[in-house]
């Protein structure tokens, strides 16, 4: 019964939030900590931290939540529940997008959206930079990674690992 409830909550939260990990946090907190009492505040914060330190999307924290609540089966069920709505909805949207992308209306709309997205990503970079580029060492790491990714063909895996090692040595 709890497994089903866990699945249902993850499915609904992912289906009705747009914008990803951070947008879901208040909802997940409300369900798991406030309403069900399945997690403490500290466990919830730990889940967020786990999502941040693991590779891949922040929402992998949902697997940790499931694990805390019901062990391995909980982790599996929470993960499937989290990504199933995306799989249905985005597959459907993409199908129709690819069909209509050449129409004048859709092409015009996306001709506006694409450069705006570039500008918005730039704004996100500035916000993140405010928080994580705080001294010459972190600025050097950030600038080095930018240059490596923009002007060389270095594998991004090496760039990330290198940044972690540089962090261990200089920070």
């Amino acid at each position: 019964m709890m497994l089903l409830q866990l699945f249902g909550v993850m499915f609904l939260v992912n289906m009705f939030t747009i914008g990803g990990g951070y947008v879901m946090l208040p909802l997940l907190h409300d369900f798991f900590v406030t309403q069900f009492g399945w997690l403490t505040d500290q466990e919830f914060l730990d889940a967020v931290a786990m999502g941040q330190i693991t590779p891949g999307p922040l929402t992998i924290m949902n697997a940790f939540i499931g694990f805390k609540v019901l062990g391995l089966p909980g982790a599996v069920v929470a993960t499937i529940g989290s990504y199933l709505p995306s799989l249905f909805i985005v597959t459907y949207v993409t199908k129709y997008y690819l069909k209509f992308r050449d129409s004048r209306v859709v092409a015009g709309v996306f001709r506006g959206i694409k450069p705006a997205v570039v500008g918005m990503l730039g704004a996100v970079a500035v916000t993140l930079g405010d928080k994580s580029l705080v001294d010459p060492a972190t600025m050097g790491i950030g600038a080095g990674c930018f240059a490596l990714m923009s002007f060389t063909r270095v594998d991004p895996t090496l760039v990330i690992i290198g940044a972690g090692v540089a962090g261990a040595v200089f920070l």
Binding site: P55, T91, A125
Partner: protein
């Protein structure tokens, strides 16, 4: 065109090494799929990013589904989802056992700070490469500047911003070829 196996391998690699969340993953996707393998152009990749933002669920997963579907239909979409999620899933379960003892370690904190700084560089590089290919002419540049300013200074909701820029795009370009 890549096979299903090609797609799974690339996405697994991204899922396993893209520390730092969404923005690090975007950079991996751009490098692996647009620059290196040329499975998609910069234009289509940006469309995938926009669609990922507008649809419910985690945006980067959605962008991956867009890419997977575009390359190989529904099976590609499924492969892209599984590949992005599986490595993190395994690591999270493993970490759940040792997390308490890692938490206070100064070395661990330093590594995370280094990766945090790297993500900013990676993301700026995504912006740089997209911008170089997509922003030609004054009107496209205005859309980019407006997107930046409205999000950065006025904190307009990003979904609303994408909607508004789509409307403006329609008004400006949609009615003539």
């Amino acid at each position: 065109m890549p096979t299903l196996k090609n797609i799974v391998l690339v996405v697994l690699k991204i899922g396993a090494f893209a520390f730092g969340g969404v923005y690090s993953m975007l950079s991996f996707f751009q490098r692996e799929i647009v620059n290196r393998r040329k499975w998609l152009g910069q234009e289509e990749f940006t469309e995938g990013v926009a669609i990922g933002q507008m649809t419910p669920g985690p945006p980067i997963i959605n962008t991956g589904i867009f890419i997977g579907y575009r390359l190989k239909g529904p099976r590609g979409a499924l492969a892209a989802t599984a590949g992005q999620v599986l490595p993190g899933f395994i690591i999270v379960i493993a970490l759940a056992y040792v997390y308490a003892s890692l938490k206070g370690q100064p070395l661990f904190t330093s590594v995370l700070k280094g990766i945090g700084a790297a993500v900013v560089g990676l993301l700026l590089s995504v912006v740089f490469k997209m911008g170089k290919q997509l922003i030609h002419g004054r009107s496209a540049a205005m859309f980019a500047v407006a997107g930046f300013c409205l999000l950065h200074f006025l904190r307009v909701n990003p979904i609303l911003l994408i909607g508004l820029s789509g409307l403006a795009g329609y008004a400006l370009y949609g009615r003539r070829v």
